[in-house]
Symmetry: C2
Subunit: 344 residues, 2 copies
């Protein structure tokens, strides 16, 4: 079997949601955009709904339709990108709640579907999504008269607890929303960890559910096991892989393993990344190919058939560091070629 | 509509295959592993089969089954990873031809499915897949008696025409195979460009079909158009995006665009990447988020609704350079969230 196995521990996702929920007094939603960070929206969202999640967030309306099909009617599905040109039918059919980002989107919403639920996204300083304070001043009374379900904003530096941007965004968000009789949300995973004043009426963790930093207490969720295609002896001075990137300094045994950058083993993942065989840590060597990596298994004293890439010895964030990126990108890059196994 | 659009020019893929085929006197196969380098195996493989491709290559047996379902009976489907543990049923049912990489695989093949077609992969120096010269010496007579359909090897440095490794691997491959009455294949895209002596009986281009280097004359295949969610004015000194990564040096207009690293806009793609609006080149600014990028559109004098990331102004290889990688990884990272449009 050439496919590697990606095992997703749904119990760990639920446990992470419960841990984050226990840190606050308010509702804890769940962010399941990008196919639940690459781990599979139908399975992930269903288990979260069963555990008590009543509100989900996706990036675009198309994802909302997939999620609605998985969940059925009932849970609220909020869309971060709001109501874009061409979204009306899908928002209506899938009963989505767009987070309105601009005056243009507000007009589109009330013209196309008056009385339908919507939320409001405000920009508190990240300058990425949401209405600017000046736009908000102009639109505020009209928008509030339409009974928005939520007012939200997003923090730019929440994974750096001491960054002054956090307090600044909190202050701006409060200035824009204090005294309004509408539920508010500011915190994703990082914001939950910043403390009570960031929680408002709803938090909306994403990466923390999936075992990633900045939620250090998260249970790991994803395990990846890679099948070995073949073993070979490599003599001193012989090279391995594209561009002759690795050269043997001792008589070596090299395993060729069936997974590569098409499976999210990011090509920048150079020296430093490891796999394990029965607990023994082994170095990935040479360049990552599209479908293959090579591993120095010289120090293993038995036949090597499967190697573990993600697991207790190496989290998504550790692997990410070897690739110069963050755990989020490891997850969303995993691709379609894995045999996915869900633990429930 | 929040989904970005990935347009795949199937005519360009066929034209690239014909151009590469015209450079040789032998059969030209097509490599369609990793879901045809991310562009969609059913559509890509069908149009190539219609254009005359009789032999396809995939990485693992599971991909072969998907390909067989798309193509029906007829074309040969070769599997680079050979006959791995657990592959027998799928090889038989999908009528795949494993490229046998080791003595273990050879035993597995002849025990499980005697008389079924197979090829042989030899290692000519890359030390990644295929039998070593010593293994080959031991197995050669037995293997040849089973009538292999192909003997192949793979070049480690074919994208560097002057690298001495090319001539070395050619010599080793010839030493291992000269005089045998079995079709031979050594060249992928890079090998086709190395000249006649590398062509043997079959070439098997991959990246060149999809518009990538080292095939400089390739027609571009993939176009990506990104919808703008909203525009905002950003004052001097204000920051944009995660970690306040970009700071406005002039009064600016910033477009927030619906695509991010979950869509293969690799997070390392920092300064340098651009998009276009009606031919005007505009810089991507700030950090790439999971679902969003931001673009400085200050210099555009009209409403910006859609921006082009891949197109005539920026090929997959140019984008790859901005992300510190190669065009191959840009393609295989594109993800599932695009609306895919095929030009045929």
């Amino acid at each position: 079997m050439g496919s590697s196995t990606l095992t997703i521990d749904l119990n760990a996702i639920v446990a992470n949601w419960r841990s984050l929920d226990a840190m606050t007094e308010c509702e804890t939603a769940a962010v399941v955009k990008a196919n639940s960070y690459g781990l599979g929206t139908p399975s992930v969202a269903r288990v979260l709904a069963k555990a008590g999640v009543r509100t989900f967030f996706v990036a675009v309306a198309e994802e909302g339709a997939v999620l609605r099909a998985a969940l059925g009617t009932g849970p609220t599905i909020n869309v971060f990108s709001g109501h874009m040109v061409g979204d009306t039918t899908i928002i209506r059919d899938a009963e989505l709640t767009p987070m309105i980002n601009s005056v243009d989107q507000m007009l589109r919403q009330v013209e196309a579907m008056p009385a339908a639920p919507f939320g409001l996204q405000l920009d508190s300083g990240m300058n990425r999504l949401g209405m600017e304070p000046s736009e908000w001043s102009a639109l505020r009374d009209i928008a509030l008269a339409q009974n928005p379900t939520l007012i939200m904003s997003h923090l730019a530096c929440a994974d750096e607890p001491n960054h002054q941007m956090n307090a600044h965004q909190l202050r701006v968000f409060r200035e824009m929303t204090d005294g309004l009789d509408v539920p508010r949300s500011l915190a994703a995973t990082g914001g939950v960890l910043l403390g009570h004043e960031y929680h408002f009426d709803m938090t909306r963790p994403g990466i923390g559910l999936y075992g990633g930093l900045p939620f250090e207490a998260a249970q790991p969720v994803a395990t990846i096991d890679l099948p070995v295609i073949q073993l070979r002896e490599v003599g001193v001075g012989e090279s391995v892989g594209y561009g002759n990137a690795w050269i043997a300094k001792r008589p070596s045994i090299v395993a060729t393993v069936s997974a590569g950058y098409a499976d999210g083993l990011i090509r920048a993942m150079g020296a430093g990344a490891t796999v394990t065989f029965k607990g023994q840590i082994l170095p990935v060597i040479g360049r990552v190919s599209m479908d293959l990596i090579t591993v120095d298994v010289t120090d293993v004293n038995s036949d090597v058939d499967t190697l573990q890439l993600l697991g207790p010895h190496q989290t998504i964030d550790m692997l990410a560091r070897h690739a110069g990126t963050i755990g989020y990108e490891i997850l969303t890059s995993l691709g379609n070629r894995y045999t996915r196994a869900y633990i429930e």
